[in-house]
C-alpha cells in the first residue's frame, strides 16, 4: 500500500549567482494516514522548509512529493491552491491571524472565495471556535486574545475545510509551557479524531505525544524514531 505522504529524493537549494545553499538534501520520507509525526532538529536543519514543501507552498529543487497519491509538482498553481485548501491545514508559530478581523472572521477567511452563504460560514466558524474552547470570544480581535487563544483560533482556521493533514510549524513556540500543553492536548485530540499531524518543533518535550519523530540534521534525515 502506498504511503499517505511520500517524499522521494527531495532536495531544496537556495541562493543565486552561483552561490547555493542546500536546505534539504535527498530526503526520503513516508508517512501513513493518521500518524502524528514530530519533526525535530536544530535551527537551520531544514524543518520549516520540509513543512512548506509538504504543504505545496514551495516547490523542491528536485525530487517528488506525493500526498494521497497526488504528485504536487504535477499541479498548476491554482490546482495546488485548491489542494491546499481541501487537504492541508497550516498552523504557524506566530499564528498569522489577520489583525483587523474578529476571531470568527479569521476562521471564515479561507471560506471567503467560496459561494457558501454568510450564515453557513458563520455557523461553521462558531462551531470550530467552540471545538477549540473559545465559545463567547467570536467577536474578539486578535489583539484582545491571549497567545494561546490566538493559536486556538489559528487551529480552528486550519480546520475550516476539514483537512486530512495538519502541518504545524512550532505551534507552541510563542506560548508559555502551560498554554503550550493545552495546545498540544488539542493536537492530540485532533490526531485521535483521525487527522494526520506533522509538527515541527525543537522542543523534545513534545515528543511523547507523537507516534514518530523524524530528526533532521543539515538538511538530511538523521534519525527516525517510533
Amino acid at each position: 500500500m502506498d504511503a499517505f505522504i511520500q517524499m522521494e529524493n527531495v532536495s531544496m537549494l537556495y541562493g543565486n549567482n552561483g552561490v547555493r545553499a542546500a536546505a534539504l538534501r535527498g530526503i526520503y520520507l513516508s508517512i501513513d494516514a493518521g500518524e502524528y509525526v514530530v519533526i525535530t532538529g536544530e535551527s537551520g536543519a531544514g524543518k520549516s522548509t520540509l513543512l512548506t514543501i509538504l504543504g505545496g507552498l514551495q516547490v523542491p529543487s528536485s525530487g517528488a512529493v506525493l500526498i494521497k497519491g497526488v504528485d504536487l509538482s504535477s499541479l498548476s498553481a491554482d490546482r495546488l491552491a485548491d489542494f491546499r485548501r481541501e487537504t492541508i491545514g497550516f498552523i504557524f508559530q506566530a499564528y498569522h491571524l489577520l489583525p483587523y478581523l474578529t476571531a470568527r472572521e479569521n476562521i471564515m477567511v479561507p471560506m471567503s472565495p467560496l459561494r457558501t452563504s454568510a450564515r453557513e460560514k458563520a455557523e461553521r466558524a462558531e462551531s470550530l471556535l467552540a471545538s477549540v474552547g473559545l465559545s463567547g470570544k467570536e467577536e474578539r480581535l486578535p489583539s484582545e486574545l491571549s497567545g494561546g487563544e490566538c493559536q486556538r483560533v489559528a487551529i480552528a482556521r486550519a480546520l475550516v475545510h476539514d483537512p486530512s493533514v495538519l502541518l504545524a510549524d512550532e505551534p507552541t513556540g510563542n506560548l508559555d509551557s502551560t498554554t503550550g500543553e493545552q495546545i498540544l492536548d488539542l493536537f492530540s485530540r485532533l490526531h485521535k479524531a483521525g487527522k494526520t499531524v506533522l509538527m515541527v518543533t525543537h522542543n523534545r518535550a513534545n515528543l511523547f505525544r507523537a507516534t514518530r519523530e523524524i530528526r533532521l540534521r543539515d538538511g538530511k534525515v538523521a534519525e527516525v524514531d517510533g
Binding site: 507552498l57 491552491a81 491546499r84 478581523l101 477567511v109 479561507p110 472565495p113 460560514k121 458563520a122 475545510h161
Partner: protein, 383 residues
Amino acid sequence: MNIRKLAWKNLFRRKSRAVFMGLGIFLGIGTFVALASLTAQMEQAVQDKLDRFGANILITPRTEQLSLGFGDISLGGTQVAHSRLTTADEKAIRGIEMKERLRSVVPFFLAAADASGKNLVWMGVPAMEIVAARPWWKISGSPIREKGEVLLGSEVSAALDKGPGGTVVSGGRTFLVTGVLHPTGEKEDGMIIASIGEVRSLAGNFRGVTFFEVAALCKDCPVEEIVAQIGDALPGARVSAIRQVVESRKAAVDQFRRLGLGVSAIVLAIGGLMVFVTVMGSVQERTKEIGVLRAVGFRRRAILSLLFWETGWVSLLSSVSGAFIGVAAAMLAAPLFGVEKAEAAFSPALLGVAIGIVLGLLGTVPPARRAAALSPTEAIRSL
C-alpha cells in the same frame, strides 16, 4: 465573510492609505467633472445668447454683377437683382418645415431720403423689434416706440447736430429724435433708424423689404438645413447663415473644452499614478498577509479579486464624492464664466464616476498582477 467584505475591512484598517489613494481619484474626477460640466454650461449659455441675441440667417435678393461696356470700352458694372423681397415673403419664411425653430423674422428696409436738408440712408425696422434685433445697441435716450420717432446713428447725430429731443424733417414730416446710437463701427452710424412703415412711406414703396434677418434656435439643429429650407421657399433670394459669429464663439468654447480635457487628463493621470503607487506599496507591505491567504488556499484570482475590490470600493466612493463636488464647483463657478443660469449637469458626473472606477481598476492592474504572481515561496519566507 466574503472577498468583498474582506476588502472593505482591510480598507478600514488602512484608512490613511485608502484616503490617500482615494484623494487622487477624488481630485481627478472632481476636476474633470467641474471642467466638463462648466464647458457644457458655457456651451449652452453661448448658444442661448446666440439664440436670444441677434440673427444668424440673412436673406437678401439674389443679385448678379452685370458688366457694362461698348466694344473694348468698359463702363463699369452694376448689381442686378433677380427679384425683390416683399412683406409677403415673411409668410413664406414662417411656413418652412422647421418653422418652430424660428425665433424671429425681422424685415429691414433701406432707402435714401432727405433729412433736414441732407440726403441720408434711412433704415426701417418694425419699431417694437428694434431692441430684439439689435440688442447690442447702446442708445443715449430711448428707442423708437411709435410713428413719428427716429433714432440717429452717431455720425448722423454729429452731422445734423441733433440729439434726443431734437427733430428731423423729411418729406414734409417732422420726426422726433428719441435717441442717439453710441458708435458701433458699423453702417448704422451713418443711418437714421425709423419704423419700417415710415421709411417705406418716404420711399414710396409700401411692400418692399431690403433684407430679412432670421434668428433660428439652433443649438442642436444644423442651421444649414434651415437655410436650405428658406432657400427653397424663396427661390429668388440669397439665404446665408451668419456663421462667423457662431463659429468664433463656439471656437472659444471648444478651446476651453480642450484646455479642460488637457487639465483633466493630467490630473487623472496623477490620480491613476497615486492608485498605482499606493496599491503597489500595499502589496509590498502585505506580502505576509498574501502568503497566509495563499497558504489557506486562496487562488491567484482570489488575490486579484481582493485587491480589485479594495480599489473598487475606494474608486467608487471617491469618484462619487469627486463628481458631486465637481458639479457643485461648476455651479458655483458658472456665473464667473458668463453662465447666467447655472444648472447641475449630470452627464459629466456619471461619466466621471465611470472614469474614476475604471481609472482606479486600471491603476490596480500592475500591482494586483504582481501580488497574484507572488509565489507562495516568496510570500511564505516572510512568515
